[in-house]
């Protein structure tokens, strides 16, 4: 069996009144791994995922999963796909088990095997009681049921639209760990607003702005290019801010962010970062020294601000 793949070519979607939701998006991902799909609200993330799952039809271009055209052969293209788009709702009168089994049956699962799969998913996702009606589930519980349904019968391509939306921190950790485990032998494409989540789960990222792909690269390359330009330092005891400023010209600005915590702005280079740390150690015992923000967050802000002029690999 060939590697799982997701491919879009010149994918464009225009809605009525000429509103462009997606314009000429092209990318291909193959093999196991996780791809983060990032962009501000209205950038076209969900539109892309809907086009990939046949919920929308493209105005122009193609969407292919495992090299099968979604528009031409939707059923075949989705045969090996588990997807969560927007907020899926199982039939309210179905029990949790029935809702998940129905999906399994439609994907060709046999009753005995489905019961086994369901037991496994129950352990992995800590599902609500299997005999509980879906109409009585909380948003987070319903989301976990939808995730379980998307994973039953083990499809190799997983498409997730903000999968941890509506989940509490404990549930988020659960899903994050599951996705980290799944990406070893599945291809995951997930949209998210949570940079922390994408940083932890994904190997590759796509940034989308105003319907256009503005950056497409590995997380590693993005980290190299968009280095954090601020660090947070925490001392064991308070240090006067002027003493930090006096470290030298590498320090561009300093602000107080806590009783013993300070944010230092610099040019973002590794050399400057090391030099500043050397200077800080001389001021007192340093108990923490880390980037003020996530690298992906910085990259995201830079790319969105420059509207693609900073983009690489797009």
């Amino acid at each position: 069996m060939s590697s799982p793949s997701i491919e879009v070519q010149d994918l464009t979607k225009r809605f009525s009144l000429g509103r462009v939701a997606l314009e000429g998006a092209s990318f291909r991902f193959e093999g196991p791994g996780a791809v983060g799909y990032l962009g501000p609200n209205g950038a076209g993330k969900t539109t892309t995922l809907k086009l990939l799952t046949g919920l929308l039809r493209p105005t122009r271009g193609t969407a292919r999963i495992n090299d099968i055209g979604v528009t031409q052969s939707r059923r075949q293209a989705l045969a090996d796909v588990g997807a969560i788009i927007e907020s899926p709702e199982p039939y309210p009168s179905q029990t949790v088990a029935e809702a998940i089994e129905m999906v399994g049956e439609l994907r060709g699962g046999r009753r005995g095997h489905l019961a086994e799969d369901l037991g496994e998913l129950n352990t992995q996702l800590d599902l609500p009681p299997l005999d509980q009606r879906c109409g009585r589930l909380s948003k987070g519980q319903r989301q976990r049921v939808s995730i379980a349904a998307s994973l039953i019968r083990d499809p190799r391509v997983i498409i997730l639209d903000e999968p941890t939306n509506g989940l509490d921190p404990k549930e988020r950790i659960l899903i994050r760990n599951l996705l980290i485990d799944l990406k070893k032998d599945h291809l995951i494409l997930m949209s998210s607003h949570l940079m922390q989540e994408v940083t932890e789960i994904c190997d590759q990222v796509i940034f989308l702005n105003q319907g256009r792909v503005v950056l497409k690269d590995t997380v590693e390359n993005v980290s190299t290019r968009f280095q954090s330009r601020a660090v947070d330092v925490e001392f064991a005891e308070p240090v006067h801010i002027d003493r930090i400023k006096a470290i030298g010209p590498l320090v561009q600005d300093v602000s107080v962010v806590g009783v013993r915590r300070y944010r230092i702005t610099f040019d973002g280079s590794t050399t400057a970062r090391a030099e500043i740390l050397r200077g800080l150690v001389g001021l007192g015992p340093v108990i923490a020294y880390q980037s003020a923000s996530l690298v992906l967050e910085d990259a995201y802000l830079a790319v969105m601000q420059d509207d693609g002029t900073n983009a690489i690999g797009a």
């Binding site: 069996m1 929308l56 039809r57 788009i85 199982p90 009168s93 999906v103 439609l106």
Partner: protein, 277 residues
């Protein structure tokens, strides 16, 4: 997992039928409609028994009178059971649960249609059972025209399929399931009734009306003239009222027409409809 692991369309259709039927039978609307039918049937039968009066001249006339209401009940029940069949996929999150699965939309549609038919026809059977109880009470079981009863049930099944096809079509135009159900009832029940009434003062036969066609299931028990013309004097003017009754074959043809046209249009719209919300 790949394409070859997917079950055939027929197996997926049966899965949708079972799951959708389970869904319908557990809804309050099904329970409510069942209670409504039982209440109306018990009340009618109760009065008839209490007053020792079947209100009919014979078993054929009794069955005709009772089954005549099937068209009205059928339209209301069909609208409730099928009025949100397609709308629910675009007005609620259900669509995001099922439309991303590797199932053809036509299979989903036919599965839901079959399930809606089974649920609606089950309610019709309850009504028929009550009618049969009344007929047996007043005229004895030996007088029941079984072949006519079976024919009537067959026509009623066809009528239910036609109503559901129309309800499915209307539901394809709306996003809100509630609005879809209301509009279906307004069009199938009130609008057709009003048009039938207006046309009675013309000489036009309401062959396009599903309510008109629905009379066929009662006509197997007692024939009626195809056209009855009555002349009335009102305000010094003569008014001609035309009361039409369909031929049985004509009623069946209208129902078949509704099934084919409405279902085909529903399938086309459902296939083309996008999840934009």
């Amino acid at each position: 997992m790949d394409v070859s692991d997917l079950p055939p369309d027929s197996v997926q259709w049966w899965t949708v039928v079972r799951r959708q039927l389970q869904f319908y039978l557990r809804t309050w609307r099904f329970v409510g409609l069942l209670l409504f039918i039982l209440a109306v049937s018990f009340a009618t039968l109760g009065f008839q028994i209490a007053y020792h009066n079947s209100g009919a001249s014979g078993v054929g006339n009794y069955l005709y009178g009772a089954v005549e209401s099937v068209a009205t009940f059928g339209v209301i029940i069909g609208a409730f059971m099928g009025g949100d069949a397609i709308a629910m996929d675009f007005g609620t999150g259900t669509g995001y649960y099922v439309l991303v699965l590797p199932v053809r939309r036509i299979v989903l549609l036919l599965g839901r249609y079959t399930a809606a038919f089974l649920a609606t026809f089950a309610l019709a059977l309850v009504y028929y059972a009550m009618v049969l109880t009344g007929a047996t009470w007043f005229y004895g079981i030996s007088s029941i025209p079984w072949s006519d009863l079976v024919a009537s049930l067959g026509i009623t099944a066809l009528f239910v399929l036609a109503v559901l096809a129309a309800a499915f079509l209307f539901s394809a135009f709306f996003r809100s399931p509630a609005i879809s159900i209301v509009v279906t009832i307004l069009i199938l029940f009130l609008a057709f009734d009003i048009v039938d009434g207006v046309l009675s003062v013309t000489s036009i036969e309401p062959w396009f009306s599903l309510l008109y066609a629905g009379q066929a299931s009662a006509l197997v028990f007692q024939g009626q003239p195809h056209l009855t013309v009555t002349h009335l004097m009102a305000g010094g003017r003569s008014i001609t009222i035309s009361a039409w009754t369909p031929y049985i074959w004509e009623g069946i043809a209208i129902m078949l027409g509704y099934i084919v046209v409405c279902l085909a249009l529903s399938a086309v719209i459902y296939e083309a409809k996008e999840s934009k919300g």
